[in-house]
Symmetry: C2
Subunit: 336 residues, 2 copies
């Protein structure tokens, strides 16, 4: 079994972009996102189509920032939370380029960045695009209840982020842009949680498994990095992850941040345990973390997006909710 997969040479995230809804724009990172829509519809006729349109606008913006054209993309690696990943497949239809659809639940952007970095590093493609999204209104009625029902949510429940992130990966021309030096693909960990309103608890053991594999294989510890950034564990999951890491001899020592806790102000936004969804870590990474890696405020971080692997049917049947977490090692670019 493989743990860390090293790249021959770091792959640059030459550009990235984010698009979010109103709640995310109202949050503490609001001003940092490239695009937002107060109506959450992005001009589309349904919430499902809105998610696809949000992806398209995020990728358009990333492509523009990278100074490339849509046809320069050799492969799009994309996924989302909608059944059969239709937000990506239909939303990005205007991109007439090869595409590999991914499903990793909320870990999707890390899966896309990992596979994109490997395909780019291997010389199989020159330019890869990694894209992921989620939309609160599309997710709520698909996974839980119609919005109109106004169902009460439990304290451990998370709030699906309305957001999309898009990243352009290339081996050359990165300049000072952040680089991916190595990745680790996650294993599915079933820790006996089958409560869809407690995804943090379902995902935390998977995050711990991947981080422990990473630190063991690399001979490093959390203190070797400026930040250990998790995808969207929320308050509940972050608590469990920090506990599990400390119990296993790798305390995160104040270096842990979680995208699900960064994106909303939990004192004012009614998001319970925090943000979640494929779009959560994708847009926080693009808007808040990568700029810090570019300007030097951060120089070496571990990013691990986490996913809860379930469907409405599997939850109704009482099946397990395995977690998964993929790791991306991001460093400051060294070019001019």
């Amino acid at each position: 079994m493989k743990n860390i997969i090293k790249l021959r040479a770091p792959v640059a995230v030459t550009a990235s972009a984010s698009a979010v809804g109103k709640a995310e724009h109202d949050g503490p990172l609001g001003a940092l996102f490239d695009l937002h829509d107060e109506s959450d519809t992005f001009g589309a006729q349904s919430f499902e189509l809105a998610e696809g349109e949000m992806q398209r606008q995020a990728l358009n913006t990333a492509v523009f920032k990278a100074g490339i054209r849509e046809n320069d993309i050799d492969i799009i690696l994309a996924g989302d939370l909608q059944n059969q990943c239709v937000a990506s497949n239909i939303g990005l239809l205007s991109y007439p380029v090869p595409m590999a659809g991914l499903f990793g639940a909320c870990s999707t952007i890390a899966e896309a960045l990992a596979l994109g970095a490997l395909l780019t590093d291997g010389g199989y493609v020159k330019t890869a695009a990694a894209v992921a999204s989620s939309h609160n209104c599309a997710a709520e009625r698909q996974f839980r209840l119609p919005l109109e029902y106004g169902g009460q949510r439990t304290p451990t429940a998370q709030w699906t982020v309305t957001g999309a992130g898009a990243f352009i990966l290339r081996t050359d021309g990165g300049g000072k842009r952040p680089r991916i030096s190595d990745v680790l693909i996650g294993r599915r960990i079933d820790s006996g949680i089958n409560d869809a309103a407690n995804m943090g608890a379902a995902m935390a053991p998977a995050a711990a498994d991947s981080l422990l594999r990473y630190f063991s294989d690399s001979g490093t510890s959390p203190s070797c990095y400026d930040m250990i950034l998790t995808g969207d564990l929320g308050a509940e999951g972050a608590y469990h992850l920090e506990r599990l890491m400390a119990e296993n001899g790798f305390p995160l020592a104040g270096r842990h941040r979680d995208c699900g806790l960064l994106i909303y102000d939990r004192l004012t936004a009614d998001v319970h345990s925090g943000g979640s969804g494929c779009g959560c870590s994708a847009c926080v990474l693009s808007a808040y973390i990568l700029p810090q890696l570019e300007c030097g405020q951060l120089s070496d971080i571990i990013f691990t997006a986490t996913g809860a692997l379930m469907s409405p049917t599997s939850v109704a049947e009482g099946q397990a909710i395995p977690g998964i977490a993929h790791v991306i090692h991001l460093m400051r670019g060294e070019g001019e």
Copy 2:
């Protein structure tokens, strides 16, 4: 935009296995599948769990045939038709190894083989497993109607195959086993079809797009290969593909076979346009095609699995059903 992606050296499909349900075992290829269950349940409590169990049994068998242990697998690339790909994510839980979830509808096994071959060829992993499945009963009630409803099906409708295929990919030790020499990742093609009961028409233009890109880029034509094998176009889709290829100057010239037409006897089985589903091409490739490549009856084929990218919600909203088709170039092994 990238067309054909060549491998540095051919990657061997060192072993493969298939598991199917009753209808598939009753079909013309019935005796060739490794495993089957007359009850379609594989001992599981629901059709959804049965699909996961079928995947697990297929992968177990492939691992046994390859003479490896489950821990020798560096990455599993797997997907299925169930919402959020839970058949793969939950069914393969007993495999404690890294996994990347894929969604490519019925093209999934080609996507998995393509990415697995690239990661193996690049030296990023030594052993990759590609797995895909579908289950008629799980798919019918998810995509269409409860089985008990007994709804009438249109002539262009296809019958979702109850089947799973698993493939082990390695760069070494292939002997005479079939090898992948190059791949092409498909583009999504929207040809205006939004009838979920006519997936053949939705997928055929994507198959034509990928095959035309392949032949143009390689400077070859269909007659250069022993077989052009499509995933699951069925009778309707096969007709459209052959027409489109002829119109574009690359007639398939009697070399075209379709897994959806091979797996059932349409004169006796009530499958209308033929078989479909991620499991269709996966189990036909494993049970019927790879053995012919191993013994020399075939020596050089093009395999293109096709997918119709839709969800129950996207169909209900009248959205497009884009098709996608990935190409795998398979050759006879040359070792002893």
